[in-house]
Symmetry: C2
Subunit: 197 residues, 2 copies
DNA sequence: CAACAAACTTGACAGTGTAAAGTTACCATC
DNA sequence: GATGGTAACTTTACACTGTCAAGTTTGTTG
């Protein structure tokens, strides 16, 4: 009578979680709501994900994969002839665009205590995203004569901080004033920082 | 028999919330736990704060006040003869130090969906913190010949993004690998960004 | 066909936020 | 000083949550 076999409940639950996340935000997301959306009983998720944290950890892992892909695509599709600085700007813009397109997912990835931050796979994919972003920084350091490893690493981290900080603050601004049209301009030119320091 | 009057339950609840936040993190924080810690019944908080969101909004307001004060103190106590760039660096360091000293409070202020982000007073105090931080940026723009308002604003936002992004990512790193000693060095020099762009 | 394991359901429990109604203590006014 | 009113707090109740334990169905394997 009841279909005791869903086919691919695991995937369905992850999609349901994504949907609920976008509809009600992270605060409205619950294991039971995901189960209901997938059309199964409230305890079904436990069989595929130990806990709510488990489900969201997995969702974050997938999201990081998409995120990395988006960064990589921006880099690969970008004009290879453009300046390194311009390519970095493009990467930053892709970062921001992902955050604006998937705000709840982005917050889950970077600002939620629910996923297990120590999860091995989550750490791995998060590292890949970082690597993808900073892939643009190293050649720029070379070009500018920054060669010692420590300085390069500091440059990577600061560039990442700038881009991530801007994305994070943009999302916060979006939470305050509904949709935000003054961010349509995308990531502002980081060249200004060059003039400042 | 029962003391039906606590004296200053409102304040006691805010302190309890702060304590619970530090002990169990934002996920372990509950209205009932705060009430218990303050020694009152679970429904008592409702009389002073409409809801959990109300309590945390108020806590965030207070935290932003302390935060602004810390930034101001760093600025005032800083060496007035030091370069503007150095003063900005000092401000960034104060920003980071607050985040590291009060990680849970910092996350509550910037990364939690629980406080009411549209609350008028919260917006106001958050704006004050921003003003305090960017107070150092304007003179630096002047010095560098950046005069048009739009560019100055972009500079402010990018500097804020860099500092905030670094603090945010540092806290995330702390969640992954317990305490983090490789951040003892404080905020890295933003001068590197000047070499990059 | 029988046994077994995997997938899912049902039921239960402790914990949560919050609303409503009841109790106590203080405070102003007569 | 008694009285009424109001603010502070408690008690009770309800719907919802995550998670565990035990039961039911289904597919697979011997």
């Amino acid at each position: 009578m009841n279909d005791y076999h869903h086919g691919d409940l695991r995937k369905a639950l992850l999609e349901a979680a994504h949907a609920v996340l976008n509809e009600k935000g992270i605060h409205g997301l619950s294991l039971r709501a995901c189960a209901a959306k997938a059309g199964v009983s409230h305890a079904a998720p436990a069989h595929h994900f130990k806990s709510l944290s488990g489900l969201l950890t997995e969702l974050a892992v997938i999201a990081f994969g998409d995120f990395t892909l988006a960064l990589r695509r921006a880099y690969d599709e970008g004009d290879a002839d453009s300046s390194l600085q311009q390519r970095l700007q493009t990467a930053g813009d892709a970062y921001l665009q992902f955050a604006l397109a998937e705000p709840e997912l982005f917050k889950l990835m970077f600002s939620s205590p629910l996923p297990d931050q120590k999860n091995e796979r989550l750490c791995a994919v998060s590292g890949e995203a970082y690597a993808e972003l900073t892939r643009v920084v190293k050649p720029l350091c070379d070009l500018r004569g920054i060669t010692d490893a420590a300085s390069v690493e500091q440059a990577e981290i600061l560039v990442w901080s700038t881009i991530h900080g801007y994305a994070h603050l943009s999302l916060k601004q979006m939470d305050v004033h509904g949709v935000c049209e003054d961010m349509a301009g995308g990531m502002p030119s980081m060249g200004i920082l060059g003039s400042l320091f």
